[in-house]
């Protein structure tokens, strides 16, 4: 079916895109990777990473010469739930 694609990604879709990039990178993604993978500007990336940290679905791991983000257990569970909902909505022809 030819779906009417939204002009802009929803906040939820951006959250999921960011989290999926982290998951794809073996749960250890550097900010630059997330920036390109989720197709975000630097300012928006910082904003969304902060929001996701506040929600408790990702955590920042930083040491002297490295900084990366990883999914928390809550984040992994959220992505699994989202995947099921995405498949459910997709089965009816609805995009999330």
């Amino acid at each position: 079916m030819t779906q009417k694609l939204p002009k802009y990604r929803s906040q939820m879709r951006i959250y999921v895109d960011v989290m999926r990039v982290i998951q794809r990178e073996d749960n250890r993604a550097k900010p630059t990777r997330i920036l390109y993978g989720a197709n975000l500007s630097h300012d928006r990336l910082i904003k969304y990473l902060e929001e996701l940290k506040t929600l408790g679905v990702i955590e920042e791991v930083a040491n002297e010469d490295d900084r990366f983000y990883k999914l928390t257990q809550k984040g992994i569970e959220f992505l699994n739930q989202f995947r099921a909902i995405e498949r459910f909505a997709g089965a009816f022809g609805f995009a999330i």
Partner: protein, 229 residues
């Protein structure tokens, strides 16, 4: 509106039992849609939730009315109970399918949707008007009286959804989309057979079996989407 439709006497009770199973499946779909809405705040999922919640409510009421009708067969109120049950069932289904159609129209708004709407609406109107003039069909004495208008209305509503889900499957070739398409196709066929019941009472039985299979197809989709990682 269809008043009472019980089909062959040996089938009395089985139809209510099948509707009760369908009620549980519709409720499960409504619950999954609500879970999705809570997680994503997507309005389309809320529409799916309301649609299936209404479907399940209608199925439950019709099923219980059928059971009550059987229990109170000797009482004068039995017919009234089943008539009210069917009326609520029809209204709930019409509203449920209407909400789902609204969800499709609000999300897709494509040429295909628009063109379908353009021909389905006048067709629905003219067929309904013609059918409204037809006298109620009576079978098996005073207990079985049925007007085809309600089933024709439901058939067209479900047909629209079947087309949408069919288009979705043809675009995605996804197994879950196929199950949803099959589910609504079977529901559409069941309403067609309910209309054709005067031709043969066995069509009423087949219609109920197809209706149940339609919901089983939706259950299969639900199990697939919730179980696979």
């Amino acid at each position: 509106m269809r008043k009472i439709l019980v089909g062959p006497l040996w089938f009395v009770g089985f139809d209510s039992l099948m509707e009760f199973v369908a009620f549980i499946i519709a409720l499960a779909v409504a619950y999954q849609a609500f879970k999705g809405y809570r997680l994503t705040k997507q309005k389309t999922l809320l529409y799916v939730h309301f649609s299936f919640a209404l479907l399940s409510a209608g199925l439950l009421i019709d099923s219980l009315a059928g059971f009550l009708g059987i229990l109170a067969r000797t009482l004068r109120g039995a017919v009234a109970v089943t008539v009210v049950g069917y009326a609520i069932y029809f209204l709930a289904q019409a509203l449920a399918y209407g909400i789902l159609i609204f969800a499709y129209v609000s999300q897709t708004r494509t040429m295909s949707t628009a063109s379908i709407s353009l021909w389905i609406t006048p067709l629905l109107g003219s067929v309904t008007l013609q059918a409204a003039q037809a006298p109620p069909i009576k079978l098996l004495g005073p207990l079985v009286e049925y007007h085809p208008v309600s089933e024709i209305v439901l058939l067209f509503l479900v047909f629209y959804i079947t087309v949408q889900t069919g288009l979705n499957y043809s675009a995605t070739k996804d197994g879950n989309a196929l199950l949803v398409f099959l589910g609504f196709l079977l529901l559409a066929l069941s309403h067609l057979l309910f209309i054709l019941t005067p031709v043969g009472a066995v069509l009423f039985v087949i219609g109920h079996v197809l209706q149940l299979l339609g919901f089983v197809s939706l259950l299969a989709m639900l199990l697939r989407v919730t179980s696979s990682k």
